[in-house]
């Protein structure tokens, strides 16, 4: 839900409630005022009749109109109080029941007591009231509608800088300048300046990280080179070799593994930091065939049964990274295969499927792309980073990488 929609909902709901409450209060106040006015006119009537009776010694002549009817009843006891009431009474003149305001009071003329009832129609008051409330309601509706439309039009324009900033941020990539334009709105300026300073900090951290990875590589690879070259020198001493060949070859092997591990980690870091631009056309079918012919020669020692079905597929990727991707997948499929096993490669416009047999049972598909994940039965020669690299590469290019086990073959699928 958009902020504006949410705000509008609350706003309109509150407005409606307030206006509704206002209308009800308004209704009762108006009702009260108008009835009071009616009562005053009834009181005037009473006063006039009393005045007349006092002056002339008899009751005035009763003239009934549409609005006002007077009924006189002679009674034995005088009535001291005057009583006001509203009631639905039959109006003889209009021949229908209508709401009347009634005043009943006593009047004594020449020792005779009368109960006088004055009725005045309250209908007009009611009509007036209804009209006033209707006008109020329509006004409220218009105010709400106008408010909504104005909000919609104005807010859209007001939020424009926000959306343009968001658009700029979405397209932002590290090591590119970020331009968030200044606006006249304080909050957006705050947002933009915060973003700008945040990006500057990230850039700085990134720079530090980049230097760190480069330096770490240098600092580690050089000692490794020292180890491996000195091991080679040591090999030349026949006497040493005779007694320590196992030790020497273990050192050599370990230095090699450490160096590969270091290089793989650096590669992963570089992919994660988006250090590579994917802007080259990669012909996957050519690449797969080429890598397969190179690796396939190595694979012949296991007498693998290899089947390949490819159609020409070209996507935008990175030549060297594509090579790493294919090498890792094919390498795994060959390395972890078994004597007399099979390797099936299927490439079409939508996907690349690599399926291979292996003595290793199904792998844990939730962990398989984690760094350093290795199946317990796997020979220790891999560094556990190959599939992480493939996974990162696929992520980077927006491809999906899936693994499943058919009970006989391990199947890796890349959907372009």
């Amino acid at each position: 839900m958009k902020l504006f929609t949410k705000y509008n909902r609350i706003n309109i709901l509150a407005s409606i409630l307030i206006f509704l409450g206002g209308c009800i209060a308004f209704y009762f106040v108006m009702d009260h005022v108008l009835v009071k006015q009616l009562d005053e006119s009834l009181e005037t009537e009473q006063a006039e009749m009393a005045q007349y009776a006092k002056q002339h010694g008899n009751l005035p002549e009763i003239v009934n109109t549409n609005d006002q009817q007077v009924y006189v009843k002679e009674i034995s006891q005088p009535i001291a109080t005057a009583v006001y009431a509203s009631s639905k009474t039959f109006n003889k003149n209009e021949q229908k029941k209508e709401l009347m305001r009634q005043l009943v009071f006593g009047l004594s003329v020449s020792s005779k007591h009368y109960q006088i009832t004055v009725n005045k129609s309250q209908e007009e008051t009611e009509d007036l009231l209804k009209l006033i409330v209707l006008i109020a309601a329509v006004m409220v509706a218009f105010i709400l509608l106008a408010g909504y439309i104005i909000n919609r039009m104005v807010l859209k324009r007001l939020w424009q800088p926000f959306y343009s900033s968001m658009h700029t941020m979405a397209n932002y990539q590290l090591q590119q300048p970020l331009h968030l334009p200044a606006t006249t709105i304080e909050e957006f300026n705050l947002l933009n300046s915060t973003m700008n300073s945040m990006v500057a900090r990230v850039e700085q951290d990134y720079q530090v990280l980049k230097e760190f990875t480069g330096n770490a590589a240098h600092e580690m690879q050089t000692p490794l080179a020292v180890i491996s070259t000195n091991t080679e020198s040591l090999m030349q001493d026949e006497a040493v070799l005779l007694h320590h060949h196992a030790t020497i070859s273990t050192i050599e092997e370990a230095a090699k593994r450490l160096s590969r591990l270091n290089q793989s980690l650096l590669l992963l870091t570089k992919i994660e930091n988006r250090r590579f631009e994917l802007d080259e056309n990669v012909q996957w079918d050519v690449l797969v065939k080429q890598r397969l012919s190179e690796l396939g020669r190595l694979a012949t020692s296991q007498s693998l049964h290899i089947t390949v079905h490819t159609v020409p597929v070209t996507t935008v990727f990175h030549q060297q990274l594509a090579d790493i991707l294919i090498s890792n997948l094919l390498g795994n499929a060959i390395r972890y295969n078994m004597e007399g096993g099979s390797l099936n490669i299927e490439l079409n416009e939508k996907e690349l499927v690599i399926a291979n047999t292996s003595p290793i049972p199904a792998l844990d598909s939730t962990k398989i792309f984690n760094r350093f994940y290795r199946h317990p039965e796997t020979k220790a020669e891999g560094n556990g980073l190959g599939l992480s690299i493939v996974h990162q590469l696929c992520n980077r290019a927006g491809y999906t990488l899936n693994y499943h086990y058919t009970g006989k073959e391990h199947v890796f699928t890349i959907r372009f």
């Binding site: 690879q221 070259t229 070799l241 070859s249 190595l298 020692s301 060297q320 390395r335 020669e381």
Partner: protein
């Protein structure tokens, strides 16, 4: 053949110098940018081994300087950073080869030998070892002046052996030379064994003596004794 080794790590510098001296090269070493630039300007070398990360300067700048002086030395970069950018920049600036640390010394020897051969096209391009003769540009091998047919891998293996003759070579180093990064893919030691066996058989059949010695637990050595 005169070489200059520019490497700031003293023990690595020493290993390289020792190994290459043993290969009959005349080696000088420099461990700083300043030292290197002085040597490059004063003397003439056949090949320069250049580490691009030096404590007091960038090796790529040094490379630019060398090329700006119209020097004709072959240059091989050794770098700890396996960065594509550096590799491309280095080759564009006129380096002949690029080797990532850590590397095997026999590999460095092969690369240097290839560069020197390319630089001295007018000179002899024949590699001789007793009755074996390798014509490197023509990729032809003769034993006692009779042509010997080898597969590409067998040829590469023989070249590697002859350039690094009289040295114990580990199976890892040989495999890495022959198959590069793909060497991890299969049990390469069996595979290497097959190639060595085939090469030995062909050499013996052609009338050469058996120069390939197996060194138990390590690898091979190509030598007379």
């Amino acid at each position: 053949m005169k070489l200059l080794i520019i490497e700031d790590e003293p023990s690595l510098n020493k290993s390289i110098v020792d190994y290459l001296t043993d290969r009959q090269y005349l080696c000088e070493s420099a461990s700083t940018y300043a030292d290197a630039i002085e040597k490059v300007e004063c003397y003439q070398y056949d090949c320069i081994v250049l580490d691009i990360m030096l404590p007091d300067g960038n090796g790529l700048k040094l490379l630019q300087q060398i090329k700006a002086n119209n020097k004709t030395e072959g240059i091989i970069i050794i770098s700890a950073r396996n960065e594509l950018d550096d590799k491309v920049a280095g080759i564009e600036l006129g380096a002949d080869d690029y080797l990532t640390k850590p590397f095997h010394l026999p590999e460095l020897a092969v690369r240097i030998s290839a560069i020197i051969r390319r630089k001295n096209l007018q000179g002899s391009n024949l590699l001789l070892f007793e009755e074996i003769q390798m014509d490197v540009p023509g990729k032809a091998v003769t034993v006692n002046n009779k042509a010997l047919l080898l597969t590409r891998k067998e040829y590469d293996l023989l070249l590697y052996f002859i350039i690094n003759k009289n040295r114990v070579l580990s199976k890892n180093a040989i495999a890495e030379h022959l198959w590069g990064d793909d060497m991890d893919m299969v049990d390469n030691h069996d595979f290497l064994y097959t190639h060595v066996k085939n090469l030995r058989k062909k050499l013996l059949q052609a009338g050469a003596k058996d120069y390939i010695q197996s060194i138990y637990g390590i690898g091979y050595k190509f030598s007379i004794a």
